[in-house]
């Protein structure tokens, strides 16, 4: 299944805002560490991944956390996973 990039981006935004409603993607630097940009602690981050799984069906294993450290990296990772499935 291939998902358009805009749909993936919207799913990420919705997932993050479900946990951190004030998250402002307009001012977020997509190349900086996502969790620090958005003040997400380990609980928040796990909850974001659970939201993402609900929206996109992609479950990100802990071993891949290093590959999803920034918004750009997360979007690329999700696109690749959705393409592969």
């Amino acid at each position: 299944m291939t998902a358009p990039p805009a749909a993936i981006r919207q799913a990420v935004i919705d997932s993050v805002q479900a946990i951190a409603p004030e998250a402002d993607f307009a001012v977020l630097d997509p190349r900086r560490p996502l969790r620090e940009e958005l003040d997400l602690d380990s609980f928040d981050f796990l909850n974001v991944l659970i939201e993402l799984h609900g929206r996109l069906g992609v479950e990100i294993p802990e071993a891949d956390y290093a590959k999803v450290g920034t918004l750009d990296a997360l979007l690329a990772y999700l696109a690749a996973r959705l393409d592969a499935d």
Binding site: A23, A26, D41, I50, E59, E62
Partner: protein, 422 residues
């Protein structure tokens, strides 16, 4: 007859503002059921009842400021006649002010029935006043500081919706309102009783609560501080194997593993677990760990994970997740805040490397867990990279000495070296 009273949610709480009932007269209530919402300095709290029965009479009304210990409702026990109990009224108000000379009739208005209830005008604030600080991103917060925009006022204007940088900039460009909404009630006649209706906003109230508790701590508690770097590589590797086989929702975070290790280490050093009251320390058999939780938008609350030493790791994770979710969403319950026996701070992993915390009275110890990072350690004479964290202990010198604290940190190190046992 049972009196359902305003609970004490911390040593410094004197009263709370009643927000709403979640039950009606005549309703059957179970032990542990949420029956009302009260606004405190720690935000809006859902208050549970600890006796089963039937609601005979609701006394408290929205907007009333009610002292700790004063009856908010009368509950009929099993086998009692609800009408008779309701008519009997408040027999002996626990709060000092005089009771009404005659028993109040069942038709009396609640405010008149409870003479000690200080009536305040309903607090005319929108949903945001439910005790949470304004929800604003770090960027919006910075911009607000730069432009001197009052986030509290803006939160009220936006009815509690998340505040973005654009909102802040719009607010800065707009002409200042003649009177801030929160200050407005002060101008209105407030009746015979001077009331705090124009009291501080939620963020200021929480600041004041933290200030009161921390000032008391530093005034009364002679702190000693210890710190120790602990190798948590084995614990992390064990947890990664544990999580690899589990779905997202079943994953356990290191925070939960560390919390359990703290609770189990306290078994070996019980003099750090309990409360200091009336000039002496009372050790607690139960281990209720207060978890310092930063709120988005500022302030902290310290809800408890109850019986942390008795929960298996998945249960502890679930309990921690529930309580953090309630804290973050501003829906803490009275039992979450009532009875911690020790506090752990900085489970948030974006934090600093070392934290020496201030003890929350009436507790006598606080454990600080620093950021986990890969650092050089010496193993078998060779330098290798391993994940470590600095654990600290702040202790009350009236109750224990450094030796006790050192024993605790040593026990914690042993627990984390054997994660499968913790």
């Amino acid at each position: 007859m049972i009196e359902f009273r305003m609970p004490s949610l911390g040593a410094d709480m004197e009263d709370g503002v009643f927000v709403e009932w979640r039950v009606e007269t005549g309703a059957r209530v179970e032990r542990g059921q949420v029956v009302c919402v009260v606004e405190t300095q720690k935000g809006a709290i859902e208050v549970e009842i600890w006796d089963a029965g039937t609601i005979a009479r609701l006394i408290a009304e929205p907007g009333q400021r009610i002292p700790v210990g004063q009856a908010m409702a009368i509950v009929a026990e099993e086998g009692e006649d609800r009408q008779a109990v309701a008519a009997a009224g408040v027999a002996a108000p626990p709060a000092p002010p005089a009771a009404p000379a005659a028993p109040p009739s069942p038709t009396a208005t609640p405010a008149a029935a409870g003479a000690t209830v200080v009536s305040t005008p309903p607090v005319a604030r929108p949903a945001v006043a439910a005790g949470l600080p304004p929800r604003a991103s770090p960027a919006a917060r910075r911009r607000a500081a730069e432009l001197d925009v009052d986030l509290d006022a803006l939160a009220i204007a936006t009815a509690g919706a998340p505040i973005s940088v654009a909102d802040v900039e719009r607010a800065a460009a707009a002409p200042p309102a003649p009177v801030s909404p929160r200050a407005a009630p002060a101008a209105a006649p407030s009746g015979p009783v001077a009331t705090p209706a124009a009291g501080p906003g939620p963020e200021e109230a929480m600041r004041a609560a933290i200030a009161a508790a921390m000032s008391r701590s530093k005034r009364e508690i002679p702190h000693y501080y210890l710190g120790s770097e602990i190798d948590v590589e084995a614990a992390h590797q064990w947890l990664e194997r544990y999580n690899a086989a589990r779905p997202l929702a079943g994953r356990v975070l290191f925070a939960a593993l560390a919390l359990r290790a703290v609770a189990l280490a306290l078994h070996e050093v019980p003099d750090l677990n309990g409360q200091f009251a009336d000039g002496r320390f009372r050790r607690s058999n139960a281990i209720h760990v207060g978890v310092v939780t930063s709120l988005r938008g500022g302030g902290v609350v310290v809800p408890a994970v109850h019986d942390a030493d008795r929960l298996a790791l998945p249960e502890l994770m679930a309990s921690l997740r529930d309580v953090l979710a309630r804290a973050r969403s501003g829906r803490l319950r009275s039992s979450d805040l009532a009875d911690s026996t020790i506090t752990v701070t900085n489970l948030g992993d974006l934090g600093v490397e070392t934290v020496y915390g201030v003890i929350y009275p009436p507790q006598v110890a606080l454990v600080g867990l620093g950021r986990v990072l890969a650092r050089p350690v010496v193993r078998d004479g060779a330098i290798v990279a391993a994940r470590t964290m600095t654990a600290t202990l702040s202790g009350d010198h009236r109750v224990t000495d450094g030796l006790t604290g050192a024993r605790f940190l040593s026990a914690l190190r042993e627990r984390l070296a054997l994660p499968e046992a913790s």
